[in-house]
């Protein structure tokens, strides 16, 4: 595309004013933004942007110092001539002006003289590779307070020595500012991303289960924090002081142990709760609903059998798959068979429940037409053990596709389906998960009936937020019912048109569920992709009926939570279910000053029912440093976590504010954080220098990428459902997922060493990195593209696609043919490996250079200018730099 860098001609000349760029700056003094962690306080740097201007650049010098990434322009970059355009971005721009909409205002001032070398600006892939080189394959011990872990992209082994593994908790910074003023000054959000049930690699020990017997876990009397390595035993071991609230507690008699000369308990190494950062307690009846031990959870498969799904063959696909999938239900380590019960419902306008009791010769179908007040028509035989009822279930799964083969029903219900699941769990007194397979917007006369409210005219207006807001009423109540009963909803959608995803996904996104969407589902191209998702969803490690509480030492506390969660009050995070991929981002605020000496402690306790129906308490502890030096803080920041926080907070903010405001805030805060660093931590240097903290040097690229994501970019070309879908998906993501989503991997495949064990190193996400003769794999955790250059050699094409040339390539190919040569094997191995690693399966899309589908591929090249709006990395960097300069003057 643009060979002229960021000075390109206006790319979105048709777009309405105010879109894409940032020309309507904060200088206009809009009402204080409602969202975010700016705390509502007046912005210290919110002076109107003066006429400073990035205009021409001739060259850059990159200077490395210990902590900062200094990135400076020659003196003449910001010459005074720029001042000739005052008010250009003062917010009073008179009408739309060409050139103002896509890029940055400065870009139009004068012709470009010299180009900014893309290689000279901070590279994410470089950062990742560097960290890999430094920490890859190493053992990371968690014995040091405030230690910054390796990046999420690096493979390393964790040894728990008193702090939770970064797989469970990652923080935006591992050194908290001592005071609220400092925090406010630097604007760096203080947050932790908690993935309580994260999967651990095989070489790391699973969590120990501690059983404190009938009394239950030992807890501080005052703040109820659980026994952990930070508790201080005193009085010869008879009492202990809680480090969270400083309360002194008696040690229960059965728990007494003498202290050694260091003041440590003699049994320190024998007790996980004294020596480890993460462990589990066996919960007593006090921790169970109604003081009754929970029943094992259940999975209910609820299949829409209306015309669309029958016709597309989906129903048959699901039924056939279930026969094998049910053999592999998740089970406790070492258990013979899964304790999970299964149940089946099919539905269109009415619901059909199935009695599959093992004693029956054939299944029984029970139709419930009364969808206004849903109920479950049977008790015994609905939720059964697959092992016991296998013949009846197989019989049923064989029959379902034929039973509805002649259906003409084109309307379905939805809310009653979820309600039925909740009622079933209620009747069986268990928690569990619903797998709902739906292709239509629920239009049948029943509670939760929806109508088309997609209105592209709302895009880029103050009302755009309504597109993201779910319909109130039925679904709101349903969320609550689901959470109370521990009913998680996984929604598989197969839409051909708009189906109000914002509303339909409301329940899944508040119950720890996921939404999977297969637009224009085609059996041949999407079937395997969907089945892979279904398998992952069924088999993943999951806990039910969960409640999480984050406790902190005095001086700060958790104030806000983001995730697929439900909050009834300000402290308890309720989750109908939480699986190994779901993360909750927790924001912290100061209450008081923190001391450098004692640091800051976080204890995150998750009470949940595991897959075999045991109530467990999982505790993750993390200790952080505190410092009154901002430089310490910037040093221990983690960009990946920061961006996770920003993504979630921005995605939540768009529910209440115009997108424009949200984008402005993001830029402002970026500039602010960096300006604060420049002002307080960096050594004095020329104003033309852009100085980034070392830990945050690729932060701008992520931030820019975030602003180019579908939810945040106001474009009528994007489907409303897709935007809502992405918005909700991100809310539950962990650091790995947001990192990958915002900076996809672009892997060159044409020149790799086929004998090497490892995959080739990714290159930067920019079209400049593509070569006409190349072959690239691009993946962001949700989509996967195989890009073929125009001039790709026939050998390459033959080797991988088994086709003589690109011209022979036709139709949609969703899998690579099984060709017996090292290259093909290697490519397929790489793809398989990536598919396995990601929480979702990704549909492989093969695109040829200059073909129409290439657009989808190009959308993910985040360093380039966005197709639907948004700046390129370089432009953004320049813009941020200018903002920083303004803040500093």
């Amino acid at each position: 595309m643009s060979q002229q860098g960021y000075v390109a001609a206006p790319p979105y000349s048709q777009a309405p004013p105010g879109m894409g760029g940032y020309q309507v700056g904060y200088a206009a003094g809009p009402a204080q933004p409602l969202y975010g962690h700016l705390g509502g306080a007046p912005h210290p740097f919110s002076a109107p942007a003066a006429g400073t201007h990035t205009s021409t650049k001739s060259a850059q010098v990159v200077v490395w110092n210990k902590h900062s990434f200094v990135f400076c322009f020659l003196r003449n970059i910001f010459n005074s001539s720029c001042l000739a355009l005052p008010g250009q971005f003062g917010g009073m721009m008179p009408g739309p002006q060409a050139g103002m909409q896509g890029g940055f205002p400065g870009a139009m001032a004068g012709p470009p003289q010299k180009k900014l070398d893309p290689d000279a600006i901070p590279s994410t892939t470089q950062v990742i590779e560097d960290d890999k080189a430094k920490n890859g394959g190493q053992v990371y011990c968690t014995n040091i307070r405030g230690q910054v872990p390796p990046l999420v992209t690096t493979d390393f082994t964790v040894q728990d020595q008193g702090n939770a593994s970064p797989r469970f908790i990652r923080c935006t910074t591992y050194t908290l500012p001592c005071t609220a003023e400092l925090a406010k000054q630097c604007q760096v959000p203080l947050a932790a991303v908690v993935k309580p049930l994260a999967n651990l690699p095989k070489n790391e020990a699973p969590l120990y289960a501690v059983n404190h017997g009938e009394t239950g876990p030992i807890r501080c009397n005052r703040c109820k924090a659980y026994m952990c390595p930070y508790m201080q035993f005193i009085d010869g071991g008879r009492r202990y002081q809680c480090t969270f609230c400083n309360c002194v507690n008696e040690v229960p008699v059965f728990y007494f142990q003498h202290l050694d000369h260091m003041g440590r308990r003699v049994d320190f190494y024998e007790r996980p709760e004294l020596s480890l950062g993460s462990y589990e307690f066996v919960a007593t009846l006090d921790y169970c609903k109604n003081n009754k031990p929970p029943n094992p959870p259940a999975f209910i498969f609820m299949i829409d059998v209306s015309y669309n799904n029958i016709k597309s063959g989906l129903v048959k696909l699901i039924c056939d798959e279930l026969k094998t999938l049910l053999e592999k239900l998740p089970r406790e380590e070492g258990a013979d068979c899964s304790a999970v019960k299964v149940g089946f419902v099919t539905y269109d306008k009415v619901l059909h429940f199935y009695n599959v009791k093992s004693a029956l010769a054939q299944p029984q179908m029970m139709v419930v037409s009364d969808t206004t007040e849903m109920f479950v028509p049977l008790l015994d035989g609905f939720l059964v053990s697959y092992q016991d009822s296998k013949p009846v279930i197989c019989n049923l799964l064989d029959q379902i596709p034929t039973m509805f083969a002649d259906t003409a029903e084109s309307e379905t219900v939805f809310a009653p389906v979820i309600q039925a699941g909740v009622e079933a769990f209620k009747a069986a007194e268990c928690s569990g998960k619903l797998f709902i397979f739906q292709s239509l917007m629920p239009t049948a006369e029943a509670p939760g009936k929806l109508k088309n409210r997609d209105d592209k005219k709302l895009v880029n207006t103050d009302k755009e937020k309504t597109l993201f807001q779910p319909q109130k009423g039925v679904y709101e109540q349903l969320c609550k019912d689901c959470v109370v009963q521990g009913c998680c909803v996984d929604l598989f959608l197969f839409p051909n048109q708009y189906l109000d995803l914002a509303t339909m996904a409301d329940v899944p996104s508040h119950t720890g569920g996921s939404v999977y969407k297969y637009n224009n589902f085609q059996m041949e191209t999407d079937g395997e992709h969907f089945l892979a998702d279904l398998r992952k969803s069924v088999q993943k490690h999951i806990g039910f009926d969960a409640i999480m509480r984050v406790r902190t030492s005095t001086g700060f506390r958790a104030t806000d939570f983001f995730g697929a969660i439900h909050m009834n009050n300000t402290t308890d995070v309720e989750m109908a279910a939480v699986d190994c991929d779901k993360a909750v981002t927790v924001e912290f605020k100061h209450d008081d000053a923190l001391s450098e000496e004692s640091g800051a402690l976080i204890q995150c306790a998750l009470l949940y029912t595991n897959i075999s129906g045991q109530r467990r308490l999982r505790v993750h502890n993390l200790s952080l440093n505190c410092s009154s030096q901002l430089s310490e803080l910037y040093k221990s920041c983690e960009t990946d976590s920061l961006i996770n926080f920003f993504a979630k907070s921005a995605y939540r903010a768009i529910l209440n504010q115009p997108l424009k405001n949200v984008r402005e805030i993001l830029v402002n805060q970026t500039a602010h954080m960096l300006a604060c660093y420049r002002k307080n931590c960096a050594s004095p240097s020329a104003a033309s220098q852009l100085i980034l903290p070392d830990a945050m040097k690729v932060f701008p690229v992520y931030m820019n990428s975030l602003m180019k994501t579908a939810p945040l970019v106001g474009s009528t070309e994007l489907s409303t459902d897709d935007r809502a879908h992405q918005r909700l998906a991100v809310m539950a993501m962990g650091v790995e997922d947001t990192q990958l989503l915002l900076y996809p991997r672009l892997i060159p495949l044409h020149n790799m060493d086929v004998d090497s064990e490892v995959a080739p190193a990714p290159v930067r996400c920019s079209e400049e990195r593509l070569t006409d003769s190349g072959l690239f794999l691009l993946e962001n955790g949700h989509s996967m593209f195989l890009w073929i250059g125009q001039a790709a050699s026939p050998d390459l094409i033959q080797g991988i696609f088994n086709l003589p040339s690109l011209a022979h390539f036709q139709g949609l190919m969703s899998t690579l043919p099984d060709v017996d040569n090292p290259l093909s094997k290697k490519v397929r191995a790489i793809i398989r490996d990536l598919q396995n690693k990601r929480p979702n399966s990704m549909k492989l899309q093969i695109v040829r250079q200059k073909d129409k589908p290439e657009m989808l591929f190009r959308q993910l090249l985040v360093e380039d200018k966005g197709l639907h709006g948004g700046a390129s990395y370089v432009d953004f960097l320049c813009y941020v730099h200018r903002e920083i300069r303004q803040l500093l003057t």
């Binding site: 009415v350 429940f353 029956l360 010769a361 054939q362 299944p363 029984q364 179908m365 029970m366 139709v367 419930v368 037409s369 009364d370 007040e373 109920f375 028509p377 049977l378 008790l379 015994d380 035989g381 019989n395 049923l396 029959q399 039973m403």
Partner: protein, 740 residues
């Protein structure tokens, strides 16, 4: 000249009718003075093996508001080929098919011996019979197994083309689809929600939503194929249904300690009625409800599920303490009326040790002509044999049941119809025959009987309207025509016409003739029916007072003590049950109900009927008492001792063995024919079950009249009830004083 006795008997045998008076007083005034109204017991479908139906349609009077059927009483002009209607005196030409008529070539309906004649009507489609089983699954395992067995057995009794359906209920209501292979399919309804007929049909997928009609054109009434999913010909689904019944399980929902199972009888019936209403309106159908306890939730709930709150008793009802009574009754009445309007009858088979809510539900059967059977358990021969009795067949191999009966009464102008009492509902047909004075279900001369059996008997009450000053000429005769249209169990449409006539008599000059024409038995039953009808709607003591004011005859002593009027010692359900049967059985059975029959068996002679009196209870007698509902064999003290000693086993006491056997044989004869099966009790002197006998006999000896103590005759009854002697003494005194 035959005696009145023979005349009455002959009339009953031929026409199934028994009049209170067989000579009718000729004026209103005289009729009123007679106290017992001119009335009759009419058995519309009395079994007449000797009466083959004719294969043509009846000839009707052409006058629009008459339409009487040509009968032997009509005057016929054979030459002019015209006949005169004996009710409205309209002269009617015979239809062309009667062209060959002459004095020697008369159609059957003109012959005097065919005062009752049955026509087969070929019109209209023949719809198969429909049987919809509505089965309670909140039963004890043993009961459910027995019931399942009975139901499976009943399938073999149904005609192969009959449509059957199955609804089961407990906490929820399930309508089973019978035609599906491979998977048993059912529609489930919440047991607590009252649904309209339309909603039910929609939910069962029986109607297409109205919105689909493009120009708002009315929706096709029903999709025959759709309805067939729930009601299938038995020959097609026999296997399926047998399996389905076999797999029926007890209601799976747990019943906590101290609670009754949740039983949604109301919704189940509502669904059953709605289903039939939508699919087969105005077709002969039986909803057969099998319950093992009271409805405990939803509409029609009779008692809550808390066991500590007992089901209402008469005491509660009198104290106005029965919370659900009114609401439930209203619900079932509405349901019964809907069902009756569609011609569907509802049977209730209630088997439980406690009450099942028959009081509230009785109207379902009473309004629709359905059966009520009450027993202790489905696992008893009382139930199984009674249930089989429902499917009993006549000499032609047809079921003894008919559907969709409509009875119309036409009278000569001196008479009017006051009303009827029996298993019927009014069709509100006002006309010249209808009296303003209502007795029973009045204000009409047409009644509908959704289902009737050969023994179904109605009490018909008439009024003489002829004024005193307009005397009827000597030898004048009044006539009544009963026209009963019905669907025979072989699906034929039939019309049975009975035309009877009686002489008018001037009460002043011919009072002794009228007196001698009095049919004491018929009058007793008719008056008793009136009493029961009143008792259903009025307070007990008022009814007794009313009865006392009326003519009192011997029977009335027992009637006053009977469970039909007395509620003491009976649950509301039992009272409802007894009254239900009393208002539909024929005269003989009704008499047995009023005054039970007591037979004595002894070595002193052949079996003989004895007085229903405590003095009949002697040590060396075996007594057999038949109260219609109970059959009691009572061994006297000595007999019992002999039996215990085992004399009957010894060859030399063969005669004793035979003596023991004789009442049992007689009892078996009764058991075989009686519907419903009576409770069979075999007891002895001092046995706990002897109370059934002791409570019925006239307490001529009690603990009060001490002189009886120690006497050899009879057994004293421990009761404060007055004996017949006291009653009669009192009555005589009253009779004298009131006439004075």
């Amino acid at each position: 000249m035959t005696t009145y006795q023979e005349f009455i008997q002959q009339n009953e045998d031929r026409d199934g009718v028994r009049f209170s008076w067989n000579l009718w007083p000729s004026s209103r005034l005289e009729a009123t003075r007679l106290v017992v109204p001119v009335s009759c017991l009419f058995t519309p479908l009395k079994e007449r093996p000797d009466l083959p139906p004719v294969q043509y349609e009846p000839v009707l009077c052409s006058r629009a508001n008459c339409k009487a059927v040509l009968n032997p009483l009509c005057q016929v002009d054979f030459r002019a080929k015209v006949w005169a209607c004996n009710f409205c005196f309209q002269r009617n030409p015979f239809p062309p098919s009667y062209a060959g008529i002459s004095e020697v070539n008369q159609p059957a309906e003109l012959m005097p011996q065919f005062s009752t004649i049955e026509y087969i009507v070929q019109r209209g489609p023949q719809t198969p019979l429909i049987f919809l089983y509505v089965v309670d699954t909140c039963l004890e395992e043993e009961d459910l197994q027995a019931l399942k067995g009975s139901l499976q057995m009943s399938l073999s009794l149904l005609p192969p083309n009959a449509l059957v359906g199955l609804i089961t209920f407990g906490r929820m209501v399930q309508v089973h689809e019978l035609s599906c292979e491979g998977i048993a399919k059912s529609y489930v309804f919440r047991g607590t929600k009252d649904l309209t007929s339309k909603q039910i049909q929609e939910m069962l997928g029986l109607m297409k939503p109205a919105a689909t009609g493009p120009q708002g054109r009315p929706v096709a009434p029903q999709d025959a194929a759709a309805s067939c999913r729930f009601l299938q010909p038995i020959h097609r689904v026999d296997m399926n249904l047998t399996d389905l019944l076999g797999e029926l399980q007890r209601d799976p929902w747990p019943v906590p300690q101290g609670k009754r199972p949740l039983r949604s009888t109301g919704v189940a019936l509502s669904v059953a009625v709605g289903l039939l209403e939508g699919t087969f309106p105005n077709t002969g159908a039986r909803v057969m409800l099998f319950v093992g306890g009271p409805p405990t939730q939803g509409p029609g709930m009779v008692v809550g599920d808390e066991l500590k709150i007992p089901i209402r008793s008469w005491h509660d009802i009198q104290k106005d303490n029965a919370r659900h009574l009114k609401k439930a009754t209203k619900f079932y009445e509405a349901l019964g009326n809907r069902s009756a309007a569609n011609g569907h009858s509802i049977d209730i088979y209630a088997c439980a040790l406690d009450q099942t809510g028959l009081l509230e539900m009785k109207c379902l059967s009473n309004l629709t002509g359905g059966h009520i059977v009450m027993g202790d358990s489905f696992n008893t021969s009382l139930f199984t044999q009674t249930f089989q009795g429902v499917f009993s067949k006549d000499h032609n191999g047809d079921f003894r049941m008919a559907f969709g009966g409509v009875l119309e009464i036409k009278t000569s102008r001196e008479l009017k119809v006051c009303g009827a009492i029996g298993p019927c509902v009014s069709l509100n047909s006002k006309g010249p025959y209808v009296s303003e004075n209502e007795m029973g279900i009045g204000g009409t001369n047409q009644w509908k009987m959704c289902s009737l059996t050969p023994s179904s008997t109605l009490g018909i009450y008439l009024e003489v309207v002829n004024q005193h000053n307009a005397p009827i000429p000597q030898g004048g005769r009044g006539a009544i025509q009963f026209v009963t249209q019905y669907q025979h169990s072989n699906t034929q449409k039939r019309i049975r016409v009975t035309t009877i006539t009686r002489n008018w008599a001037d009460a002043q000059s011919q009072i002794q003739h009228i007196e001698s024409s009095f049919d004491q038995e018929a009058a007793a039953v008719l008056m008793a029916r009136l009493g029961v009808f009143r008792a259903e709607s009025e307070e007990g003591p008022d009814v007794l007072r009313w009865l006392d004011r009326q003519l009192i005859r011997l029977f009335m002593f027992h009637l006053r003590r009977s469970p039909f009027l007395q509620v003491f010692n009976n649950s509301p359900d039992e009272s409802s049950y007894y009254r239900h049967h009393f208002t539909r059985q024929d005269l003989t059975q009704s008499l047995i109900m009023i005054q039970p029959i007591l037979y004595s068996y002894s070595f002193h002679g052949p079996p003989e009927p004895v007085l229903l009196d405590s003095s009949s209870i002697l040590p060396d007698r075996i007594l057999l008492m038949d109260t219609f509902f109970q059959l009691v064999i009572y061994n006297g003290e000595t007999i019992a001792q002999w039996q215990k000693a085992g004399y009957q086993e010894m060859p030399e006491y063969q005669n004793f063995k035979q003596l023991l056997k004789a009442p049992q044989d007689d009892a078996n004869d009764i058991l075989e024919t009686r519907f419903p099966m009576p409770r069979y009790i075999n007891t002895e002197h001092g046995g706990s079950q002897a109370r059934f006998l002791l409570s019925k006999v006239n307490p001529s000896q009690t603990h009060n009249n001490l002189y009886a103590w120690g006497q050899e005759s009879g057994a004293p009854i421990l009761t404060d009830d007055v004996s017949l002697q006291v009653f009669m003494d009192h009555l005589k005194k009253l009779a004298v004083s009131s006439s004075a």
